[in-house]
């Protein structure tokens, strides 16, 4: 995928979560990320898709999840949008706080932030958009960074 965009429109189902993860796996591999990075990117996309399907669209068959992969400059930019009520960022607890460690949910956004270089979450009344950015570290990128 060189300077191109791949887009998917997916149903609000569990299969979408697997499909999103598999697409991320394939595209990240094609871009030359190592196995560990591919796993991290794919897991971040999976978690974002889980949020979109479960918490955003709430499995509503009338609502879709859109998934875009774009390589722009030195970045892989992945955008996931749902058509739900909009994620309330204030209500997401810190999963590392001692009182939350034994909670059985609430780690998805944390994992996404841990695995990606940049995460931008934009909730609105018509849905949530989450943009995930991973820097592509090719040889020329490394030289450029080292000289800065």
């Amino acid at each position: 995928m060189t300077e191109q965009r791949v887009s998917y429109t997916l149903d609000s189902t569990l299969e979408t979560v697997d499909s999103a993860e598999q697409a991320a796996n394939r595209i990240a591999s094609e871009l030359g990320f190592d196995d560990d990075e591919v796993m991290r990117i794919a897991m971040a996309v999976r978690e974002a898709a889980v949020n979109a399907v479960l918490h955003g669209n709430a499995y509503d068959p009338g609502k879709k999840v859109s998934l875009d992969f774009e390589q722009t400059g030195g970045n892989l930019v992945i955008t996931i949008r749902d058509q739900g009520k909009g994620l309330d960022l204030e209500k997401i607890p810190d999963p590392l706080a001692p009182e939350n460690l034994l909670k059985t949910s609430g780690r998805g956004i944390f994992l996404i932030r841990s695995f990606m270089d940049e995460v931008h979450i934009s909730p609105s009344q018509t849905g949530t958009e989450i943009k995930l950015v991973k820097h592509v570290h090719g040889p020329s990128e490394g030289v450029k960074e080292a000289s800065q």
């Binding site: 897991m43 889980v50 460690l101 034994l102 909670k103 059985t104 949910s105 944390f110």
Partner: protein
């Protein structure tokens, strides 16, 4: 690859050999059902062998936490055995590595149950 489990007993400890993926949906449900069934039979010393679990997502992590607290609340113990690097790293970054009792040798893990 979806999750599969099989159980065996050693010295009163039930070892659950897990393989595949513990993820939202089937994998998490299978783990929940296995632990629930063991508890219903009074088997409260549970060692989850995750040596062949190559992937866990946040739902899977949540299910591990749920299993841990459910067993503990019934007076039992649940420990983890043979974490793969991926699972180990996930438990580290979520600060759960120190919550769970994690073992890397089956014989000593079995002995460690009270």
């Amino acid at each position: 690859m979806s999750m599969k489990t099989s159980t065996r007993q050693i010295n009163g400890v039930t070892i659950v050999d897990c393989s595949g993926r513990i993820t939202l949906g089937e994998g998490s449900v299978i783990l929940k059902d296995v632990v629930r069934e063991l508890l219903s039979k009074g088997q409260k010393k549970i060692l989850l062998n995750l040596g062949d679990v190559n992937y866990i997502d946040s739902s899977g992590i949540g299910e591990l936490v749920s299993a841990f607290t459910t067993v503990r609340n019934q007076g039992g113990e649940l420990k983890l055995l043979n974490l793969t690097k991926k699972v180990h790293d996930l438990l580290q970054i979520t600060k759960l590595y120190t919550v769970f009792d994690v073992k890397d040798d089956e014989a000593s893990a079995v002995k460690s149950f009270s």
